[in-house]
């Protein structure tokens, strides 16, 4: 910036610089997120196919819902889609609830003082760092019906009489997905809760101890209300993550019908069946669900988005 700037006030210079600094990011995001998203939404109103993305017709809402020879067709009339929706929501609710409870227990344990605390904290980060594909594979092997260590252990302990087909049984497979997800993401939740716990003021605990209040009561009346904001944010992030679940389901159970999530369903239509129009319709719906949830969270939670540069 040169002489030219010297005619402008500092505020104007900074605002102009801000837009110049933002421009590359905004252009890239528009290119790799905005444009593809718009194309996906557009494709959802067409009969495009993967092999020939340029030759398609506009077919209105037919991918979503259409009456054809007296029958309702389209995504909204597809029981497989609704099954995926139901399963995804169930998965998100169950896994996030478990992660909240377990994460809280782990965080409380790690908040206490004991030798080698740093080491334990490092250890619980490991599941989180392992690539999802790898953890899916590790657990698939552990849950293997014939040779898996889990069936071996349960048989040896006499808890089951015959090997359980964890990943093939439609009733159990989704639970298996939940278990692996909980294993992988509880550390994330626990560390966020731990960070919140460590910012709590010590004096109200001392006051509670002086007053002789039972620790359990202290937890529910003091700790929980104080860390609730952090907890809520962490769980919302996790829930939005869980609603998008793909890798884990796809690799752990090969996306079989019993575990198919919304993302897996959409990709199957899109890539395996080459039906870009229909798959895009599913993707668009998933996007809408998550967008609406995010928006309501932002509005309700009044997340601080416009904070000032602090001192």
């Amino acid at each position: 910036m040169t002489r030219h700037d010297d005619a402008l006030g500092l505020a104007r210079i900074r605002i102009r610089a801000a837009w110049m600094f933002l421009a590359p990011t905004l252009i890239v995001l528009a290119a790799v997120a905005g444009w593809p998203l718009l194309r996906t939404i557009w494709f959802s109103f067409t009969d495009a196919e993967l092999g020939n993305l340029s030759g398609y017709r506009f077919i209105g809402f037919a991918n979503y819902l259409e009456r054809y020879e007296g029958e309702w067709l389209g995504l909204l009339a597809d029981p497989a889609w609704w099954g995926a929706v139901r399963r995804t929501i169930w998965f998100a609710l169950v896994s996030v609830s478990l992660e909240a409870v377990l994460g809280m227990i782990v965080a409380l344990a790690l908040n206490a003082r004991f030798p080698l605390r740093g080491l334990v904290r490092a250890a619980i980060l490991i599941p989180w760092a392992i690539p999802t594909i790898v953890s899916a594979r590790m657990w698939a092997w552990m849950l293997n019906d014939q040779f898996g260590v889990i069936n071996h252990a349960l048989l040896a302990l006499g808890l089951i009489d015959a090997p359980v087909a964890w990943l093939a049984d439609p009733d159990l497979a989704l639970w298996a997905v939940v278990i692996v997800d909980v294993w992988k993401t509880t550390p994330f939740v626990a560390l966020l809760i731990l960070a919140a716990l460590q910012m709590l003021p010590g004096d109200c605990y001392e006051a509670a101890r002086v007053d002789g209040i039972h620790p359990v009561r202290v937890f529910f009346r003091v700790t929980l209300p104080l860390i609730r904001p952090a907890l809520v944010v962490a769980l919302i992030f996790r829930a939005l993550d869980a609603l998008r679940v793909f890798d884990l389901v796809y690799v752990l159970t090969s996306g079989s019908a019993g575990t198919m999530s919304m993302s897996v369903y959409a990709r199957q239509q899109l890539v395996d069946f080459q039906d870009v129009g229909y798959g895009s319709a599913a993707s668009t719906l998933l996007f809408l669900v998550i967008a609406l949830l995010t928006l309501s969270v932002v509005v309700l939670g009044r997340l601080r988005l416009d904070g000032e540069a602090g001192r």
Binding site: P36, L37, I133, V134, A195, F237, F246, D247, L270
Partner: protein, 277 residues
């Protein structure tokens, strides 16, 4: 120490043990399995009978795993480098300058980081094909920016906000234009925040599966997660578990090492990204 307190301590120790076991056992199990071959695999046992490195050799000879790891590293490094470069500039604008529309922009960027990957899949597929990048590493780098850029912008913005206002003002009084302020004053001060941010972005790219699985086809452009997902043995029925676990250990160890080294910083990066937001 009375009996109740002793029991309490014991229960706490058991709880810690359970946590550690739950966290580490699957990885330990994978490690043990990776050193077994053939029928040894199917004998239950918590300890390796012998350290048989055959699987590790096989992964590199049979599966061309070296190339795969290199692909993952190239993609991750390029994506992280580019994301950080753009994000530092954007973070100055979003974190320190008050302008009309800033809140809406922050919201949009946060929104992009919430995008389900499949929502951009068909549009991205078209874009990558149109640019002639299908089945190439640059195509993957482009796609992965969706995942890393909003996140890095968001985290660096929260860190940028914390830096003292007077430093910036002093630099302006010293006659520095905005670019110099960012480059000479803020960038050096932001290093402690950039390390964990870059690391988290690296992990995101390293672990990415859906894009890599959809936008590449040949073995030459495969990344690590795709290679592991596609690993299969001679028979359709049973996977070569020893091989799979050896590959898993190989790709996990560097990440685990990084995470353990930067443990504290990663936690600060995570909390900045999630809680302060």
């Amino acid at each position: 120490m009375n009996a109740a307190r002793l029991a309490g301590r014991l229960a706490f120790a058991l709880l810690l043990l359970a946590i550690i076991l739950f966290a580490l056992f699957p990885f330990y199990h994978a490690l043990v399995t990776s050193f077994r071959s053939g029928s040894e695999l199917f004998i239950p046992g918590l300890f390796p009978a012998a350290l048989d490195p055959r699987n590790y050799a096989l992964v590199f000879t049979q599966q061309n795993f070296g190339r795969t790891v290199l692909n993952s590293v190239l993609v991750a490094v390029a994506v992280v480098g580019f994301s950080m470069l753009l994000a530092v500039a954007a973070a100055y604008a979003l974190g320190r300058v008050r302008f009309r529309g800033r809140g809406a922009l922050m919201l949009t960027i946060l929104g992009v980081s919430m995008f389900p990957q499949v929502a951009v899949l068909s549009g991205m597929f078209e874009l990558i094909r149109a640019l002639g990048l299908y089945d190439t590493l640059p195509g993957l780098m482009l796609a992965n920016l969706v995942l890393t850029l909003p996140f890095t912008v968001w985290v660096l913005t929260t860190f940028m906000r914390e830096l003292p206002k007077e430093l910036e003002e002093a630099a302006y009084v010293d006659g520095a234009p905005p670019l110099t302020v960012v480059r000479r004053v803020f960038l050096p001060l932001l290093w402690p925040a950039m390390v964990p941010t870059a690391l988290l972005a690296f992990i995101v790219s390293w672990n990415e599966f859906l894009f890599a699985f959809t936008f590449t086809l040949s073995a030459e452009t495969r990344t690590v997660p795709v290679a592991i997902a596609l690993l299969s043995g001679g028979s359709r029925q049973e996977l070569p578990w020893g091989l799979v676990m050896a590959a898993s250990v190989i790709v996990t160890l560097p990440i685990v090492a990084l995470v353990l080294t930067f443990q504290r910083k990663i936690v600060s990066g995570l909390t900045a990204g999630a809680v302060k937001g």
